[in-house]
């Protein structure tokens, strides 16, 4: 292989040690030291980043939680590429959480082990290449020593080191010798991109065989011998409490071991543990726990939000928008633009609360040893790094004495960035003195979520005589995602709701963004692509409304706004730069793919939308038909994405398909509503996922080729679907969707 020498952007050390089977383990020095102090730890057995056995099996560690985003496939691909092994010979192993608490500040041993913000690939790109290259170089050095050859003359391919004279040795043959050598001088040379044989090639989900045979283990599949099953009846009232309870009947259920009250947070206080108070039923098995819970009699106190409803929240937002909000961006002179405007266009868009509804409900196994002050946690979580501190805060166990193991995870979508269910399991384990496997039911999961914020977006645009957009005013009233966070000041609550550098910042001379703090007792959190979902819907729908009002082509208007290829600073997550040409690239791709501008029969329409999300550029074009009675059919969807260099095209395609389906389900059906201070939805009958019959029969994904450093793709595929759909619907039947979900709006509008 050809190599180029690159300076690693960050230090990438290598520690080499022997595996139990006579192979070699490549890890980081801190890990090697850490194996001995905790010999009971499964971590030592699971191994480190790379393990090569004498029989040539190659094990590569995956550090991020796998929630379906494809991290366990794509990140090891990067190591395998530079290690120069055959992907078919690689087995991927999940790394446990590993934080070094010995220094002044805790340090990740394997790198950041979270799953959020579509950052896994970007971070793996920054260190995994060098890591794989260093391990490869150690094997080359072992071969050089065996052959008394100059390492620089040796090449590798498919897990073998090759001598110029034709001899070769497999990595397995060299493993024991590599393990005995001192760590090589680093950084080792990296491959040139033109030599990639794994990166950029389609690779299927690495755990596919385990998944299709039922062997894949998720959090809920944790069956530790000493675990009792806990389910909890939580207060259904927002910020309510347990007034009294009677567990007489619950305790009579065979298998029920204990019933304990678990306190919740004080109303409106920052949330440091579990989300809601309630009664936990602990039993020998799941069914007994569920039956015991059903037999509980609990009286609740309603709490301070008893009069909140979806209708009252909408009135509250409407009222807020009549006043003045917090100006968070004010480019140019909007008032002057308004005074000089030839045309003004206004519209208000309304988005509901939404639930994550991962198919695997929340669950967690916790074993506390309060004598030895040690804890073991097995959890499906997107944020394992926060667990040692959480356990410490609730039990006093020092952070370094909590082991955290990761399972495969049945969906995340941002829900599992919050470890409230881990806290619950810890609290129940502490109260009962038992090892606990906590299980949430679907009803628990839908009612006790950290919901995507609801909000009202008021947009006003001004145009001059040449139909150029001169002013842009977005006024958003929303319940901030920063829900009861201790460290967020009131004046910063707008930050997760609206991103000031988003389109059309700097493309329109006069831009004002204004945020209004809506009050609500509904818990909020991060939902796939956070505020991009709502903002892209509002902004990209509104562009079409402007185009329609001023008789312009919606594609041409977007192209005009994006203008010549330019690069702008982008200060929010996904920056530091935003390239107009890359957004134009995905927009043009979907416009061509859908056949923009062609004549369509009556009742058919196409619509498009583009958006920059967390460093990735994505666009959707949707073709729909709407019957005279208002029946909607999504005929065809074309999407395009530019996330820089493509690591696994099959994974990117999956994420774009997933984003499209997720976007469709949310746009068509999903809303969490409140009545009397309680969440109304309870299961998939009133919070529907998209049935296969409603999925588009034709969905094309275009992936833009790029040499830019790779970004993730978990969130880029969702924001543009809903506005492209709404724009297509308008073009098909003239009904403008300004409120999500769409539900039966078309039938009602067309019947009128």
């Amino acid at each position: 292989m050809n190599t180029t020498t690159m300076n690693a952007s960050r230090r990438a050390f290598l520690a080499v040690s022997a595996s139990a089977a006579g192979g070699v383990i490549f890890g980081l020095p801190a890990i090697s030291r850490a194996q001995n102090p905790t010999p009971t730890s499964k971590g030592a057995q699971i191994g480190l980043f790379v393990r090569i056995e004498p029989d040539n099996r190659v094990f590569i560690g995956a550090r991020n939680p796998e929630i379906g985003q494809g991290s366990r496939t794509a990140t090891p691909m990067i190591i395998a590429e530079e290690l120069d092994v055959r992907w078919e010979d690689v087995t991927v192993e999940q790394l446990p959480l590993s934080i070094d608490f010995t220094g002044a500040t805790p340090a990740w041993r394997f790198g950041d082990q979270g799953a959020g913000g579509s950052t896994g690939i970007e971070e793996a790109w920054a260190d995994h290449r060098q890591f794989g290259a260093n391990a490869r170089w150690a094997l080359v050095s072992a071969a050089a020593a065996r052959w008394s050859a100059d390492a620089a003359t040796l090449a590798t391919r498919d897990g073998r080191v090759r001598h110029p004279d034709g001899r070769s040795l497999s990595y397995g043959d060299l493993a024991a010798e590599a393990a005995a050598l001192p760590a090589p001088k680093i950084p080792a040379p990296l491959k040139a991109a033109k030599d990639y044989r794994i990166i950029g090639t389609p690779r299927r989900v690495t755990d596919a065989r385990d998944i299709v045979t039922g062997r894949a283990r998720y959090g809920l599949d944790t069956y530790e011998a000493d675990a009792a099953v806990a389910v909890m009846l939580r207060c259904p009232h927002l910020d309510g409490d347990v007034e009294s309870f009677d567990d007489t009947e619950a305790r009579k259920v065979p298998g029920v071991l204990e019933v304990v009250k678990i306190a919740g947070p004080a109303p409106s206080e920052p949330l440091a543990a579990n989300l809601a108070p309630g009664i936990a039923v602990v039993a020998t098995n799941t069914w007994a726990a569920l039956k015991g819970r059903a037999a509980l009699k609990v009286a609740w106190t309603p709490g301070p939000h008893a009069s909140e409803s979806t209708a009252s929240f909408d009135r509250h937002c409407t009222d807020l928008l009549k006043g003045n909000g917090q100006v968070v961006k004010n480019d140019g002179d909007l008032d002057a633009a308004r005074a000089a405007a030839a045309t003004t266009v206004e519209a208000t868009y309304v988005l509901p609360y939404a639930s994550h509804a991962p198919l695997e409900p929340q669950n967690c196994f916790v074993r506390l040893d309060l004598k030895a002050m040690r804890a073991t946690v097995i959890a499906p979580t997107q944020q394992p790094g926060g667990i040692p501190r959480l356990v410490m805060n609730l039990t006093g166990i020092e952070r370094r004495n909590t082991e955290v193991f990761l399972t495969r995870i049945g969906g995340g979508f941002g829900r599992r960035l919050t470890n409230d269910y881990v806290a619950e399991a810890v609290l129940i384990a502490k109260a009962t003195g038992r090892a606990i496997k906590l299980m949430w039911t679907r009803e628990d999961d839908l009612r006790h979520d950290f919901f995507r914020p609801a909000g009202h977006h008021r947009l006003v645009a001004t145009l001059d005589n040449a139909r150029t957009i001169t002013g842009w005013h977005q006024r958003l009233a929303s319940a901030s995602k920063y829900y009861r966070r201790a460290n967020v000041k009131a004046e910063n609550m707008w930050q997760p709701e609206i991103y000031p550098d988003d389109f059309p910042a700097r493309l329109v001379p006069n831009v004002r963004l204004e945020w209004f703090a809506a009050q609500s007792g509904v818990a909020r959190g991060s939902w796939r692509a956070p505020a991009h979902y709502a903002n892209a819907f509002a902004v990209q729908s509104f562009l079409d409304e402007i185009a329609h009002a001023t008789r312009q082509d919606a594609l041409a208007l977007r192209r005009t706004l994006l203008g010549a290829p330019r690069e702008f600073d982008y200060a929010q997550h996904g920056g530091p730069k935003f390239h107009t040409a890359r957004l134009r690239g995905v927009l043009d791709q979907v416009a061509a793919g859908i056949g923009w501008g062609r004549k369509l029969p009556k009742g058919r329409g196409i619509g498009l939308a583009c958006h920059f999300t967390f460093g990735g550029y994505a666009a959707h074009a949707v073709e729909v038909s709407v019957s005279a009675a208002g029946a909607l059919t999504v005929e065809r969807v074309v999407c395009a994405v530019d996330v820089g260099r493509v690591v696994n095209p099959l994974g990117i395609e999956a994420q774009m398909e997933g984003g499209t389906i997720d976007g469709l389900a949310a746009a068509l059906h999903q809303a969490i509503t409140v009545e009397g201070g309680r969440i109304q939805q309870s299961n998939f009958h009133d919070y529907p996922l998209l049935p296969i019959r409603e999925a588009p029969k034709v969905l094309q994904v275009h992936i833009i080729a790029s040499d830019a450093p790779p970004k993730g793709c978990g969130e880029m595929g969702i924001p543009t679907l809903a506005p492209a759909l709404a724009n297509a619907i308008f073009n098909a039947c003239g009904v403008r969707i300004r409120t999500l979900p769409i539900k039966d709006q078309l039938r009602r509008a067309l019947a009128a």
Binding site: V212, T213, R442, F684, I692, K697
Partner: protein, 155 residues
């Protein structure tokens, strides 16, 4: 209750527990067959789909008391002597899974569909009610068609 017998993946089992217990918890908690997943507990999502006497059912909504003398088959029984069922093979080839949590249930539902409809139309596939949260619906459709073709092909 009296002891009853049922067959699970070809093995006879005796059961003397609560007749109201859903099959799902018996499979998972007692037999440790964890391929059938809990997703909704109300027969809505299909993540727990297994076969009873060859037909796809939602294990969360079938009580143990109804299963005396019945044959239960779970995803764990689909692979025979290390050979995957055509539906499993098609699932891998079409790279269907994202998180994978619903997939065992999807596969069990499709095995039953192809038993009844060896050459399923799009409308037949549309009748599947298993839910996927990740958005694998397009790939499920392709995998069903591929599996049907594999099963029709003479061995």
């Amino acid at each position: 209750m009296a002891t009853m017998r049922l067959t699970v993946n070809g093995k006879t089992q005796t059961y003397a527990g609560d007749p109201d217990q859903p099959l799902l918890w018996y499979l998972r908690d007692t037999l440790r067959l964890t391929g059938a997943k809990y997703g909704c507990g109300a027969g809505l999502c299909g993540a727990c789909t297994v076969h009873v006497d060859g037909k796809a059912v939602r294990a969360c909504s079938v009580s143990m008391g109804t299963l005396a003398g019945r044959r239960v088959a779970t995803i764990e029984s689909l692979e025979q002597d290390g050979r995957l069922h055509a539906v499993q093979q098609a699932w891998i080839e079409e790279d269907v899974a994202q998180c994978g949590y619903c997939q065992a249930g999807q596969i069990m539902a499709v095995v039953d569909l192809l038993r009844v409809k060896p050459n399923p139309s799009d409308a037949d596939i549309d009748a599947l009610t298993n839910l996927c949260r990740c958005g694998t619906q397009m790939r499920v459709r392709r995998a069903v068609k591929k599996a049907a073709a594999m099963l029709r092909r003479p061995a």
